[in-house]
Symmetry: C2
Subunit: 372 residues, 2 copies
């Protein structure tokens, strides 16, 4: 049963055993020693404290370099296949915390080429348009415009392509097939694609003509791309990129990853307050079948998606979260109350985000990288 899940850059299915994923992928736990060390640069983000950003590669090395005066840069991104939802925002919010804490540059890649290649139905115009829409959400989060550059792959390809070529030359079909599970029917663009996703991890070193450490905060599902990139980095004379992995943001219907394939389980940044409220009010919870039953036996916050949302993003106060859990287990609070409270928080968040998102339309030029 624990084996019965799948995590690739293009598919997350089954009930994910995140500890087993660390074993499978060969990453390291974000342990207390690392958390202690990170806390010295500023207050730990709740996503770290709560074990949602839970796995890493070489984060200690990044801090060693940083302490020695060698600044790293951040690299993360998004595959623009549809509207942005809360599951996308979570790692970006965490990335902003890293930028604010360490005062380092961020390169944000929008992979319009990837989503075109991997999605039968999408045209390149679709994914380019979606890249623009997704970019508004990135900008709305308030990344420092003097430190943040957004890469749209097809626009920046003149910069990315030579690095991707060097990367691709070192990756055999065997390796790509083993890591990504490609088949004979996979198109040749998809096979090549990982070199484009690797490129920003080497790009700054290439541009500056000397090695610059790179830290990639991302979902653990994206690790395979960077595992390959790390393997070949020394062959090209680059540092291996370091990674900080987060768990997947859950869906509202109890699934392990919020996904656009389940719109009712998914809160988009473009949803109206009414839509947000409706989706939250019909969320899967850990409540009992009847009020009487729940008052008597309590609910199960450990399986409740409303509780997960509070845990992941919407209740930053550890004490309040703990109290809520106890109340739920004791039957002192009913699902309706929790859902209403979450809906209020989310509507509030979305309303503010949408205002900033509108203003972002005028800021696009400040963020775009290498419109070559």
């Amino acid at each position: 049963m624990a084996e019965d899940f799948k995590v690739t850059p293009w598919e997350v299915s089954g009930e994910v055993d995140y500890d087993m994923l660390i074993e499978r992928f060969g990453t390291k736990h974000v342990d207390n020693a690392l958390l202690d060390r990170m806390s010295k640069y500023g207050e730990l983000h709740p996503l770290l404290k709560r074990g949602i950003v839970y796995s890493h590669r070489d984060m200690d090395w990044i801090l060693d370099r940083y302490d020695a005066g060698e600044k790293f840069y951040l690299y993360t991104g998004r595959g623009p296949s549809g509207n942005t939802h809360m599951g996308h925002l979570m790692p970006w919010i965490f990335t902003k915390y890293l930028q604010d804490t360490f005062k380092v540059p961020l390169y944000f890649q929008l992979t319009d080429d990837e989503k075109f290649l991997f999605n039968e139905k999408l045209t390149l115009d679709d994914t380019k348009n979606m890249a623009y829409e997704n970019m508004l959400d990135v900008i709305a989060l308030g990344f420092d415009p003097t430190l943040t550059k957004i890469i749209i792959d097809t626009n920046c390809i003149k910069t990315l392509y030579p690095i991707a070529l060097k990367t691709a030359k070192k990756i055999t079909f065997s390796t790509a097939r083993a890591v990504f599970g490609f088949e004979n029917s996979t198109n040749i663009g998809s096979i090549f694609y990982t070199s484009i996703q690797a490129a920003p991890a080497f790009m700054v070193s290439e541009i500056e003509g000397k090695n610059v450490p790179c830290l990639i905060p991302c979902g653990i599902d994206q690790d395979p791309h960077f595992r390959v990139a790390r393997d070949i980095a020394p062959l090209l004379g680059y540092y291996k990129p370091a990674l900080l992995h987060n768990k997947m943001f859950p869906g509202l219907q109890g699934t392990d990853k919020m996904s656009s394939s389940q719109p009712n389980s998914t809160i988009y940044t473009t949803d109206t307050p009414k839509q947000v409220r409706k989706k939250v009010m019909s969320a899967f919870t850990g409540g009992a079948v009847t009020v009487e039953d729940q008052r008597k036996n309590g609910g199960k916050p450990e399986i409740c998606s409303v509780f997960k949302y509070l845990h992941f993003l919407f209740e930053e106060d550890d004490k309040k979260l703990e109290e809520l859990m106890i109340k739920c287990r004791n039957g002192e609070i009913l699902c309706g109350e929790c859902k209403k409270s979450l809906a209020d928080s989310m509507v509030n968040f979305i309303e503010i985000h949408q205002e900033k998102r509108e203003k972002a339309r005028d800021k696009v030029q400040d963020y775009l990288f290498c419109e070559d």
Copy 2:
């Protein structure tokens, strides 16, 4: 024995049976009917009359469209892995004849990315520098600068990449492996590459927003790339590119293809007159072992590389060539005389070419396409 040869875009080995290649590849002979038709647009080029440009795909369709007022464009190219040699010039000379005859645009692709990906030893700087050097030879041939644009892949990638993506999405790994003979150890850049070589065949249609016929004059060894491109063209709504294939230019040591892996068999456009003369004077001929024997029994022009050179490029007069063949067979002429005569012609050609090649350095900007 006739099966014992291999022709791929990256390897020509064994004694090539060109008629069998037409069967294997599924192309058509340039027959008398087609030659008759082509002669109506201008005097036939010797390479056509002599069966060196001997195979095609849809050349009749190109002429149909042309007659109906729909102009085609020419597309050919070169993989810049080393200096230009006579074997490269031959199809370019033929391409110039096509441009002069039909007054049509030419896009000339220099595939610095390909040669980097397929050659373990070459860096991207090597192949870019070589692209520049090769370009000088193209310009020196006197292509009309108002109708001719030279594409260096890594410089024009912003234009090529979106078309390559559309192409790549339609080509499975199975297809690429079957056509190009890829293995598990092939790098993922090489697997993707054919989509970059296909891109110029669709590029003008893409830019103009309507279908424009494309004619590709090239060595028959390049056919696999365009066979794949033709298969997927209808899926993308493009015309299939048409092709005119030439046989390989022979090496001076009797091999089927002049190749940089045999420098003594190869005349480079950058060779000194002394080097040219020396290589020609030590060419493989069809002569007998002794002068007496040759005077008595004659030579064998059919296996003589000197004769092949005259046939391919350096004796345009059919009558003179015929006379020479008879004289050789009758023992009336010795190899030394033939070699000296060819050396004189080639030195003369090279001296004039090198002068034009130097002047080409100032014309580069007139020819470069989309330095995006």
